[in-house]
Amino acid sequence: MNAVAPAARRRAWQDPALLAPLTILLAALFLAPLLLMVPMSFREYDPGTGVVAGSWTLENYSRLLTDEFYREVALRTLGLGLAVTACSLLLGYPLAYVIARGNPRWRVTLVLLVVFPMMLNLVVRSFGWIALLSNHGLINNLLVGLGLIDTPLKLMFNLTGLIIGLTHIYLPFMVLMLVSSIQGVPRDVEAAASTLGSSRFHVFRAVTLPLTAPGILTGSILVFVLTVSALVTPRMLGGPTYKVMATLIYDEYMQLLDWPSGSALAFALTVVVLAFIWASSRLAKRWGGMA
């Protein structure tokens, strides 16, 4: 109708057009193969002959609830995800606070220190933890040598080891998310709370913490998702027997060649992760007042 129209029209198709290359790439190379695995997860598997063509069964999924071994691995994975998320949050928040609010001169250095471990190969870092945590590792030798304990603490091939290793590896993600989130809290809003009678602790609890809820949420989702899908570290610190979902899926695929079971486990994990993300965003929105 007028001069505005062409510009508006251009804007209308511009956004989808910008997203198109990535969308096509993801659809062809990720989504399509993924959807091909859906029917696979309902197939029967015969250890002698392989995937039974044309068969339909829910057993690959129901096994997660009925089979004690599968159930334990599933619960362990969720517990591990929650524990690592909680540890990263508890360790990461004070650190992020210092980086965000401390002397700006130190900020770059501190962020680099936080990111530095990510520049090392994952296998190398996990080996480092083996050297520290094993029965005759640095920590146990030190504690025994000092006479604080008689027998070595069991720090590997169990939940403790995985929590320590994975928290170390995913802490940087949490810290980086929290730093930008804490930097985004207006200082005037905190000052307003203190002039209204809030002690420093109350300012933190009633203002800073809720206002950083979005950062806590994204950091937590990131760490949780990375933890429950981590393969290398659980494999190395958990050994061949202490399994989580990711290592279990890997074994089903690569060692047992039981693709139907592997796909079912993978999809089940995805559903649980999505449910977790949904629930935690609702929680954070209500808490941070963004609902």
Binding site: A192, S194, T195, L196, S198, R200, L211, G289
Partner: protein, 363 residues
């Protein structure tokens, strides 16, 4: 409410002195503005009163209590920020309730005081909204209700109107005046806008370079500025250069670009070169000759509502900003028209040349 006393207040950042020996007493229920250009230390003073900045020296007293060492949450003050600083995660009513809850108010009393504070700023219907759903002016009114609700001993304003557009700013000024007449709050209002300071305050404290230049009522400040800096800071000044031709009491006659200009305040001896400040609003343009009128020609005309502004040339290279009512016979004069200027001597100030420059670089 209580009176507020600042005694020999200092703030230094390393070598830089931001607030330099400021002593000031604000009476119970008085509204005082701290006025000055940016960097004059006015916000720092306010933040020291609030407890958000530690003074390098001096004492702050609210009532009879020395609060210099108290943290902000123990001072029982209210602070209204330029950025509004509302709690974005809380509703409007919860924002207002925040300070009340901190003082232990609860139950029905809490509800009543939140309701009356919101009624005071005419936002009763907005209690359940979130701050981001409100306009800038409404948000600032919530901030005022939040600061006022706990009945602070002193209310502080940190350029609260600067983020609002011009029309809203005028409305909010009237709103603040109305609040002030209802509540009689001891208030300190920081601003760089002279018009705000003049229209709101009982007294205005003009600051430059961290030092107090003058504390006076708005009328005294405007008509009897204490020094060069203030004369050039208040009103809309024309800046000229001239010589002192004659002294008569505190006033005299100045020679500027070939014409003689009577002045009510001359701070220099006869014969010296001076900076001449002529308030724009005191230069009236007339179509026909007037007694002691200075002849001039129109260079530019611009319409600004109630008035028409002219740039007039009184002598080669000497231009003045002048004005005429936008409805009179001098309302639509074309460039090059011959006119006569009537300049009120009370709005002409002459100051030793160096002083103005020094003060300005200092500010």
């Amino acid at each position: 409410m209580a009176k507020l006393t600042l005694e020999r207040l200092h703030k230094r950042y390393g070598e830089l002195s931001v607030v330099d020996d400021v002593s000031l007493s604000i009476a119970d229920g008085e509204f005082l503005s701290l006025l000055g250009p940016s960097g004059c230390g006015k916000t720092t003073i306010l933040r020291m009163v609030a407890g958000l900045v530690d003074p390098s020296g001096g004492t702050i007293r609210i009532g009879d209590q020395d609060v210099t060492q108290l943290p902000p949450n123990k001072r029982e003050i209210g602070l209204v920020f330029q950025s509004y600083a509302l709690f974005p995660h809380l509703s409007v009513a919860e924002n207002v309730a925040f300070g009340l809850r901190r003082r232990g108010v609860s139950g029905n009393e809490l509800k009543e005081r939140v309701t009356s504070a919101l009624a005071l700023v005419r936002l009763s219907a907005y209690g359940e909204r979130k701050p981001r759903e409100l306009s800038g002016g409404q948000q600032q009114r919530v901030a005022i209700a939040r600061a006022v609700a706990p009945r602070p001993r002193v209310l502080l304003f940190d350029e609260p109107l600067s983020n609002l557009d011009a029309q809203l700013r005028d409305e909010m000024q009237i709103e603040l005046k109305r609040l002030q007449s209802q509540l009689h709050l001891t208030s300190v209002f920081v601003t760089h806008d002279q018009q705000e300071a003049l229209s709101l305050s009982d007294r205005v404290c003009v600051l430059a370079g961290g030092r107090i230049q003058q504390i006076a009522t708005p009328e005294d400040l405007y008509h009897r500025p204490a020094n060069a800096f203030i004369a050039s800071f208040i009103g809309k000044p024309n800046r000229l250069v001239g010589d002192v031709a004659e002294r008569r009491g505190v006033g005299g006659v100045l020679a500027v670009g070939g014409f003689r200009l009577p002045s009510a305040q001359v701070d220099a001896p006869v014969g010296t070169e001076v900076d001449v400040i002529v308030r724009q609003e005191a230069v009236q343009v007339h179509r026909h000759p007037v007694t002691d009128g200075i002849p001039a020609t129109i260079s530019l005309r611009s319409f600004s509502g109630a008035h028409v502004q002219y740039v007039v040339t009184v002598a080669p290279g000497v231009e003045l900003l002048a004005q005429a009512p936008s409805t009179g016979d001098a309302a639509s004069l074309a460039p090059a028209t011959q006119v006569w200027l009537d300049i009120d001597p009370a709005a002409v100030f002459a100051l030793p040349k160096r002083e103005t420059q020094k003060r300005e670089t200092h500010a």
